[in-house]
Symmetry: C2
Subunit: 650 residues, 2 copies
C-alpha cells in the first residue's frame, strides 16, 4: 500500500503514526539478528519501515533482500531507499525490479552521499541521473503510479553550500517531478522544524504531501554528539545541560534522552505540522521503544496496530501474496521458513486451501530454513543432553520460559503461551515432547485480546491442536486411543516416511482456525492437511538432524538426538469438537517414556501459571499494554486446559 | 454414482433400499405434476429412480428431459431406460449422449416391446441391435465403464414362447455382456421369485449382481388385475380372497393391497435373495408410500436418507455439478429455476463463492422459470385481491398454511416452517410481505432434525435472514433503522434497478449458512451476494408481472399487483450476529402499510404455533417419522423468534 494513503487514513481518524528506519548490517549474523528485531518491533506498530540503500550499491543486494523478507515474511509495509548519483542505470533498474517483485510499493528516491574519498559531491562517471528529481521522473516513466515516491528534506540545510531556505526550491522541484512525501534529515529543534515546514508550504508544497520529521533517539552521549554534528543539526542548549551531567552513564543518557526526544516529538505533533514520526533506529530497538512509551503512543493508536490482526498469523505483503489467507498450522513457530518454502508458488490460497492447488513446497536448502546460530551458540542454548531425562527437562524449560528457543521454535514462548502451559509442562516432563499447539476456542469475540483477529463484531473459533514427538514404544497405544475417539483426527509419521492417519480419505484439509464476520464469507486461515504436513515432516527431521550435528561426532549427545529424530514419531492431533473442554490431553493418560521421571517442580510451576491465564482470558476488557502485546510470530506453544469461550457459557 | 455401488454400500451396513420407476406423462401439465411428485417423493428416500423410455423413442425427448431434471434439479440418482429393437442407431447415440450430459450414470438396457400392431416381436427395419446384449456391448464399447448397466429379468417368463427357466441363459448372456444388475418384471408370488433367483445363481449369475424384484403396488382392483394379466404374473389365491370382497371400494383395495404387497416384500427381504425393492409407481405416490410405511422402512434405513442432508439445499447430481456446494439463498423456494438459470455455467462454486467467478445467470425465458399453472388455476389459488388488505391476507394465509403456494414460493409452507411463523404472520398482517427467511442458529448438532445437515459430529450455523417486499412509503424509515444497526447488512432494490446496500464494498459474499465438521474445511453452502441478488431481482419482478397478468386487462386486481411490483422494494436483510436472539424483527417495530389492518386472529394463530416449535427443537432425539420428514425443497418461509441453539445456553 502507498505510504501516503496509509498515513492519510490514520490521520483522518486523528491517529498519529510512526515508522522505523533500518540499514543493512555488515555480517550474516547481524542480518539474522536484525530480522529477529524487525519481527519483534512489528509489535510496536510502525505504519511502515524503511531500509537504506547500501552506499554505492555495494550492499544493494542486501537492501533488496531485506525489503523482500520484511514484506513477505514479516508483513511490514516497507519503503526502499534508492540513490542515483553513484549508480549505473542497470543497478537502478535492478533495484526497482526487485522492489516491485517483493511487493514493495514505496521508494525513497535520493541523490546519494558523495563517495567517502571525495570531499564534495559530484556525479560518478557512467551514472544515469544527476539529481533525485531525474530518478523520480524515471521511476514514474517506467512504473507509472506503482510506487509512492518519497524524497529527502533538509530542515537545517543540506550541505555547506545550501542552507535550509535555499534548498526549498529543489525540494519543490522533487515534489513537482512526482514525489509524494518528504522525510527529513534528523532534527532536535522543534521551532526550527516547524518554521521550516511553514516555509515549505509557503513555497507551494501542498498540504497533501506529508513532511515527516526524522527523529534520532539518543543511544549514547558520544553517538548523539557525533550524529548531530555530522548532520549539522542544532542541539537546543537545555539538551546539553540535561545530558552533560550524566554523559558517562549510558543508561542515564538514554533515560534523560527519551524525555528530551519525546518532548520534541510532542511539540511537533501538537503544532499540527505533522502526525507522523520517522525514527532512525540505528538497527536498535530499546531507545526507540522508550520514546514511544514516553509519548504514550500505543499500537492501538496506530494504523498498523498489530493487536488488530487481520488474520491469526502475520499476513504477508509480498507480491501476489496480499490475498493469501490460508496456511498450514505446522509452520506457526517458523513463519519465515514457510514463506521461503512457498515463495515460488504462482498463486496463494485465498479463502480455502483449494482442491486445484497441489502445492510443491521448496526444498530445505533455501536461506532461512536451517537451524539458526553456530553449533557453539546452540550448545549453549540447549545444553548437551545425555539422556531422555535431559531432553525432557530442556523441553520443560522451554515451556516454562527458561529456555529461549528450541530447534523447532525460533522465538521464546510468548507471555500468553507462558500462562497456558500446565498441560504442556506435564506432557514434556513425561517425555512426550510437544512441538506446537493451540487451545480450543468456541467463538471468542474478534477483538479478544488473546484469541481475536479479523474485522470487528465477528467471532473466532479454534479446534484444539497438538503436535507432539512420540517415542516408538508409546506410539501404538496412542494410535489405538486416537482411533477409538470419534472426535479426534491425527496424522503420525516417522523419519522413514510411514504415514498413519484416520482422516477421511476424501476429506481434504481440516480447518482448525476460522472466523465469522459481518457481511463476509467464513474465513478459515489455518488448516491441517496431508501434503503440507509431509513437507513439514521433512523440515522437522532435517532440523532434528541439524541439532544432532551441533554435537561432536561420536558424542553421547549426537547419538541421543540422532536416535530421537531417526525413530520417534511426529504426531499431529486435532480435537474436532471445539466445544469439548479437554479432548486431547486424556489421550496421554498414564503414558510415560521409560527413563524419564517427572519433576514435581515442573508440575507446580504449571499449575500456578494456569491461574494467571484464567484471570486474563476471563476479562476481555483487560487490553494488554504496549510491552505486553502478544507477538504474533512468537511461539505459542501452549494449550489451555479448558476451551476458551468468548462471552457465553459452554 | 453407479447403482450397484450405492446399493452395495447400504447393504453392507444391513440397510435395505428401494427405488421408484416413473414414465413420461403425455401432457405438459402431467410432466409438471410429475416433477412436483418426484420432488416430494424424494423425501421417501429412494436409492434411485428410473424413467422409462418412450415407446419407439416417440417420447424419448421427454425421457431425457426428465432424467436431466431429476438429476440436476432434484438430485435424484437416476437410471434411464433405453430400448434398442425399435430404434435407429442415431437415436440410441443421442439418448446415451443426453444421459451422459445430464450426469446420469445408469442405463437399463432393454430389447423393447413389440410395436402394438404386431402380435409378436421382430426387429424393426433399419435398427442397429436385435438383442439387449448387443446394446449392452455397444454401450460398453462407446462409454467404457461410465454407465452401470441394468437388464430386465423375467421370473415368470418373458413371453409366450419363453418360460422363466428358458429365459435364464439369455439373462446370463446379458450379464456376461456387461450387465451389472437385474430388475425384474412385476411379481406377487414370493416363492416363485425366490426359487427363480436361486436358479439364476445356479446358472452362474454371480451374487455381486443384484437381482431386484419389481413391485407393483395396488391402486385399484381393475388395474391390479389388468397389469397382472398383461405381465402374466401369478396372483396368490389368498390375495384374490382378500381383495375380491372390497373390489368396489378403491380406498379399501389400497388398504388391503398395501398389506399384501408389504407381506410379499417382507418375505423377499427375509429370504435374503434381495435387499432392494423396485416400485412401479405408475407415477403415483400414495400406494407406494403406504407399502413403505407398512414395511416400516424409513428414510433413516436408506442410503439416500433425505434426513441426512449433505447440504442444507438439495444437492444436484448433474454433470459437473456434483461438487457444487455454494448457492445464493434467494432461490431457496425455487430450486429448479436456479438450476435452469445456471445450467450453462462451465464450473460450479465449490467451497466458496469464488472471486474468479462472474456468474452470468441465464435469462427468464427458460422452461420452468415462469409462473406455473394456468391463469384460471392461479386466480383460484390466490384469489382476486382488490386492496392491500387482500394481499396482506393472502400472504398471512400462506404463512399459516391455508394457501398452498405464492407466486414466489412453489410449494406449501413446510410443517417445520409452519411452526416458525408467528413473526412472519405478524409482519404480513401489517402489509410487510415476506418472501423468504431463516432463523439464526448458533451451532446446532449436524444431526438436528430441523436445522441439521452434513456429516455426523458436526455443528451447523445460520445467520438470521429475511427477504421482504416493502412499500415505498416505509422504505426510508426501514433503511435508516438498518443503517443504524452495525449487525445488519442489507440490499434493497426496486423494479427500476435502484440498489441500496450497506454491505462492505470489498466484502464479497456473506455466508449465511455454514457448518463445521470433523476433519473438514468449513462448508458454507448458502450466501447472500450482489450479482446473484440482482439476477433474483429480475426473476422476482418478472414473476410479479406474470401474477398481474393472471387478471384481466383493466381489472382492479391486475392494477393492484402491477402497482406493487412496479413500485415496492425487495429488501434482503442479514443479522450478522448469529448469537443475537431477534435482531431483524425490531427493525419493523411500528411499521404498518396504510390501508392494511392487522387481523388479531392471525396473531393468535402464530403465538399458538410457536409453542409447538419450542417443544420440537428442544428435543433433539425426537426424530421425525417418515411422513413428517421435512421436504428440503419446500418453502421454509419461516423464522424463529429465538436463535435456535444446539445443545448449549446462549
Amino acid at each position: 500500500m502507498h505510504i501516503t494513503k496509509k498515513l492519510a487514513a490514520a490521520h483522518a481518524e486523528g491517529r498519529p503514526t510512526y515508522s522505523f528506519e533500518y540499514f543493512p548490517p555488515k555480517t550474516a549474523q547481524g542480518v539474522q539478528n536484525l530480522y529477529d528485531r524487525m519481527d519483534r518491533m512489528h509489535s510496536f506498530g510502525p505504519a511502515f519501515i524503511d531500509v537504506t540503500w547500501g552506499a554505492g550499491g555495494r550492499m544493494s543486494h542486501l537492501t533488496t533482500e531485506m525489503v523482500k523478507v520484511a514484506q513477505s515474511a514479516y508483513g511490514l509495509e516497507t519503503c526502499m531507499h534508492l540513490t542515483c548519483t553513484d549508480m549505473e542505470k542497470g543497478k537502478i533498474d535492478g533495484g526497482l525490479k526487485e522492489a516491485y517483485q517483493a511487493g514493495c510499493t514505496n521508494i525513497l528516491a535520493l541523490r546519494g552521499d558523495p563517495p567517502r574519498e571525495k570531499e564534495k559531491w559530484e556525479q560518478t562517471e557512467g551514472t544515469a541521473f544527476r539529481y533525485a528529481r531525474d530518478l523520480i521522473k524515471y521511476i514514474k516513466s517506467t512504473y507509472g503510479n506503482h510506487f509512492d515516491i518519497g524524497v529527502a528534506g533538509y530542515p537545517e540545510g543540506c550541505d555547506e553550500e545550501t542552507d535550509a531556505d535555499a534548498h526549498i526550491p529543489y525540494l519543490k522541484e522533487k515534489i513537482d517531478a512526482g514525489g509524494t512525501f518528504i522525510v527529513t534529515q534528523m532534527s532536535y529543534d522543534a521551532d526550527i522544524f516547524i518554521a521550516w515546514v511553514k516555509k515549505c508550504r509557503d513555497a507551494g508544497i501542498p498540504e497533501s504531501v506529508p513532511i515527516i520529521p526524522g527523529v534520532m533517539p539518543i543511544q549514547t552521549y558520544d553517538s548523539f554528539l557525533r550524529r548531530a554534528n555530522w548532520t549539522q543539526c542544532r542541539i537546543p542548549p537545555d539538551w546539553m545541560k540535561a545530558l552533560e551531567p550524566v554523559k558517562g552513564d549510558d543508561a542515564a543518557v538514554r533515560e534523560v534522552g527519551k524525555g528530551l526526544v519525546a518532548d520534541f516529538c510532542r511539540k511537533l505533533l501538537d503544532s499540527g505540522v505533522t502526525m507522523h514520526l520517522h525514527f532512525y533506529t540505528m538497527n536498535l530497538a530499546a531507545s526507540t521503544q522508550m520514546v514511544l512509551e514516553e509519548l504514550a503512543v500505543t499500537p492501538a493508536t496506530n494504523t498498523h496496530d498489530p493487536s488488530i490482526k487481520p488474520l491469526p498469523w502475520r499476513q504477508s505483503l509480498g507480491l501476489n501474496r496480499r490475498d493469501e489467507n490460508v496456511r498450514p498450522i505446522f509452520w506457526r513457530n517458523r513463519n519465515r521458513s514457510y514463506v521461503a518454502r512457498t515463495q515460488d508458488w504462482d498463486e496463494f490460497p485465498n479463502g480455502r486451501w483449494g482442491d486445484s492447488r497441489s502445492p510443491a513446497f521448496g526444498g530445505l536448502d533455501a536461506y532461512g530454513i536451517g537451524l539458526k546460530g553456530t553449533n557453539e551458540h546452540n550448545r549453549k542454548l540447549w545444553g548437551e543432553p545425555k539422556s531422555l531425562q535431559d531432553v525432557s527437562e530442556l523441553f520443560v524449560g522451554y515451556m516454562s520460559g527458561k529456555v529461549q528457543t528450541l530447534p523447532w521454535s525460533e522465538a521464546p514462548i510468548s507471555s500468553e503461551a507462558h500462562v497456558l502451559t500446565d498441560d504442556l509442562i506435564n506432557l514434556n516432563s513425561r517425555g512426550l515432547l510437544t512441538i506446537n499447539s493451540q487451545p480450543a476456542v468456541d467463538g471468542a469475540k474478534s477483538n479478544h485480546p488473546v484469541y481475536g483477529w479479523g474485522p470487528r463484531n465477528g467471532y473466532v473459533y479454534q479446534k484444539a491442536y497438538l503436535e507432539v514427538l512420540i517415542s516408538p514404544t508409546l506410539i501404538q497405544t496412542l494410535i489405538q486411543r486416537m482411533d477409538a475417539n470419534p472426535d479426534i483426527t491425527y496424522y503420525a509419521v516417522n523419519n522413514s516416511g510411514e504415514l498413519k492417519t484416520n482422516a477421511p480419505q476424501d476429506g481434504g484439509p481440516n480447518a482448525v482456525t476460522w472466523g465469522v464476520f459481518p457481511g463476509k464469507e467464513i474465513v478459515q486461515p489455518t488448516i491441517v492437511e496431508t501434503i503440507s504436513f509431509l513437507a513439514w515432516r521433512d523440515e522437522f527431521y532435517h532440523l532434528g538432524s541439524e541439532w544432532a550435528k551441533c554435537y561432536d561426532e561420536g558424542s553421547e549427545s549426537r547419538k541421543l538426538i540422532r536416535e530421537i529424530t531417526e525413530s520417534w514419531y511426529l504426531v499431529n492431533i486435532v480435537d474436532n469438537d471445539f466445544r469439548n473442554e479437554r479432548g486431547i490431553y486424556p489421550l496421554f493418560e498414564g503414558l510415560q517414556v521409560e527413563g524419564v521421571e517427572s519433576s514435581p517442580k515442573a508440575a507446580v510451576n504449571g499449575a500456578k501459571e494456569t491461574n494467571g491465564h484464567a484471570h486474563q482470558t476471563k476479562d476481555e476488557n483487560a487490553k494488554p499494554e504496549l510491552n505486553a502485546v502478544p507477538d504474533g510470530n512468537n511461539a505459542v506453544n501452549g494449550a489451555d486446559k479448558t476451551a476458551a469461550n468468548g462471552d457465553h457459557k459452554n
